[in-house]
């Protein structure tokens, strides 16, 4: 056991405001798991702007929550020395949402809709892949998504992007109907998500801290999913006073139903497990879609040194 004075200070930047999707990290803070591992962790909330990634690059924070592998590929492409040390979500929670009863039954049916509201980041990545993987998707369908679902609600013959854990909730509560949900991951966009990213030199200099941070985070996630997560939820609501219990419950439910966290490689090696095969498969798809360049060394993107060690798997009920 370590005393308070000897705790290593670590800061972790998330990619959005405190929410259920960050539950495990908050859990580890709230129930003292990080302290148990000798860490004093400060969570730096993200927001609509992507500043936390810049802060990681400028060494102002130690770890950053990377959304999906495309960010990592971009970093390697641009010679930015970062590496993913864990992948908390086995599936990307990005989803396309459509109105019910419009004849859209499968992912491929979305190509028939005249309008899809989509933000620029998804457009320049996921949508490029969609055009390759499914026939019929075209640029003319796209209108910008400004994180306000109103235009989607106003237009029955449209779809919009979203996080499966968030937007469907507001659509359900405000729009008053259960929308059709199509997870991109299930359609083949198989990148892991909510990865823990750090600078290469930091990882090389502090392998011990990295290992402890990853392990404690995984424990936090198991607790959040399967244990008593009230402490984490309270902390989330403290950081983000707008968060509601209903939303948190919805998020947890979706994470479980769609197996966002605990599926695939995680069932073998435990939460956070990174499968290099998955990376390769996704990389090939993206090269094929012209999203990333073929000549980059995708193996530099991730390391499985710190994960797939079945840490905390025993906590799973």
């Amino acid at each position: 056991q370590v005393t308070a004075q000897e705790l290593d200070e670590v800061s972790f930047g998330t990619n959005w405001l405190a929410e259920g999707e960050h539950g495990g990290f908050y859990q580890a803070v709230a129930d003292g798991t990080y302290e148990k591992y000798g860490l004093k962790v400060t969570i730096v909330q993200g927001g609509p702007s992507a500043a936390n990634q810049a802060l990681l690059m400028a060494d102002k924070i130690d770890f950053y929550m990377q959304g999906n592998l495309i960010g990592s590929f971009s970093a390697v492409e641009q010679d930015i020395p970062v590496v993913e040390v864990a992948a908390i979500f086995q599936k990307d929670p990005q989803v396309l949402i459509a109105h019910p009863d419009t004849g859209v039954k499968t992912f491929a049916d979305l190509a028939k809709l005249p309008t899809i509201f989509m933000a620029k980041d998804l457009f320049s990545t996921g949508f490029q892949w969609m055009k390759k993987a499914y026939p019929g998707f075209k640029d003319e369908q796209i209108k910008p998504y400004t994180y306000n679902p109103a235009p989607f609600l106003a237009d029955k013959m449209s779809a919009q992007q979203g996080y499966i854990t968030s937007e469907p909730y507001s659509v359900e509560t405000q729009g008053g109907f259960k929308p059709e949900l199509f997870l991109l991951a299930d359609a083949g966009f198989d990148t892991p998500s909510t990865m823990i990213e750090a600078k290469v030199d930091y990882v090389e200099a502090n392998p011990d801290i990295v290992q402890r941070f990853v392990d404690a985070s995984i424990i936090g996630w198991y607790t959040y999913l399967y244990g008593d997560n009230t402490a984490a939820n309270d902390l989330i609501k403290k950081d983000n006073p707008e968060m509601t219990d209903g939303q948190l419950a919805f998020t947890l439910e979706k994470m479980k139903t769609f197996g966002l966290v605990d599926s695939g490689a995680a069932q073998e090696g435990g939460i956070g497990c990174l499968s290099l095969d998955q990376v390769k498969s996704f990389f090939d798809k993206m090269v094929d879609a012209g999203v990333v360049k073929a000549d980059i060394d995708y193996s530099k993107v991730v390391t499985d040194k710190y994960v797939c060690k079945k840490v905390g798997m025993d906590m799973k009920k």
């Binding site: 927001g47 306000n148 679902p149 106003a154 405000q174 729009g175 950081d239 006073p241």
Partner: protein, 295 residues
């Protein structure tokens, strides 16, 4: 009202007789000065506002517009009433940034204008960079600013300054340049120092231009505070209206979004009224734009 004015008021209408060119003692149409005028001054915008709100409500009701697209005024009022504490504290944060941004925009803009007025060469060397700052989208350089500034607060202020300073600079420059050259000659003759010429002549002369710039900068500072927070701000507890706007949008709480927008608008109108008042007070004694014509 005198005859020629009557003619004027009637525009190009032909007159049937010039007998009525005589001066009658009929009162002028109530102008800003009189007592009725003063009342109307408040009444007209209020009536306009009420009318607008009624049209809005009726439109929403008649076309049955869903509240998540365009909430009715009643719903917005309810949201405002319910979320009062949250919105007010957010407004307070934004207002603080706005005022700071306004101050640095004014100081920065005027200081730059003065610097550039000192010599054609300084102007040629610096103005392009002022323009570059103006046209640089803060969202694009916010990360850089965040990296190089010590606190988020400072980063927001820098973003806000970038957005708001240019109108002050541009207008003050034009004002400084418009100094009557006979007066400049006079100052030359009396061997006024650069500094004296600036203080006693060029700055007062630039005042009407500066004040037009101030009226632009007032609203722009408010936008700048929002944009600055949006680009570089912290999320969470100490966050301002920008955050509340985005969050309401994200959560599809459109009535609250409109509530926040209304608070923002009100603040903007108040700032504008304040800057207009300042402008009036500073000019009413001497400048054509503010002086009450008596002859």
């Amino acid at each position: 009202m005198t005859a020629v004015e009557a003619e004027k008021h009637e525009g190009e209408m032909a007159r049937t007789s010039v007998q009525d060119l005589s001066t009658d003692e009929a009162p002028r149409p109530a102008e800003a000065g009189s007592a009725t005028g003063r009342w109307l001054r408040f009444l007209i915008p209020v009536l306009m506002l009420v009318g607008l709100i009624v049209v809005w409500q009726v439109y929403v009701m008649v076309y049955d517009v869903p509240h998540y697209i365009l909430p009715s005024p009643v719903r917005v009022a309810q949201a405002l009433a319910a979320d009062w504490p949250v919105l007010l504290s957010a407004l307070w944060v934004t207002l603080t940034i706005t005022l700071k941004a306004l101050v640095i925009a004014l100081v920065g803009g005027v200081a730059l204008a003065i610097l550039m007025a000192q010599s054609k060469w300084i102007e040629l060397a610096l103005y392009p960079y002022a323009v570059i700052l103006q046209v640089t989208p803060v969202v694009a350089i916010a990360p850089l600013i965040l990296i190089y500034t010590p606190t988020t607060q400072a980063a927001i202020l820098i973003c806000a300054w970038i957005v708001a300073f240019f109108p002050v600079l541009s207008n003050t420059t034009q004002g400084l340049r418009s100094t009557d050259h006979n007066l400049l000659n006079l100052f030359e003759l009396y061997r006024a120092s650069r500094w004296q010429t600036l203080i006693f002549l060029q700055l007062p002369n630039a005042l009407p231009y500066f004040l037009a710039g101030l009226r632009i900068a007032g609203g722009l500072a408010l936008i700048a505070a929002v944009v600055g927070e949006f680009a570089a701000g912290t999320a969470g507890a100490g966050s301002g209206l920008a955050f509340r706007l985005l969050e309401s949008q994200y959560r599809l709480n459109i009535p609250r979004l409109f509530g926040a927008l209304i608070l923002l608008s009100l603040t903007g109108v108040l700032i504008f009224a304040a800057t207009s008042l300042v402008s009036h007070l500073l000019l009413r004694k001497w400048h054509e734009s503010a002086v009450r014509r008596e002859n």
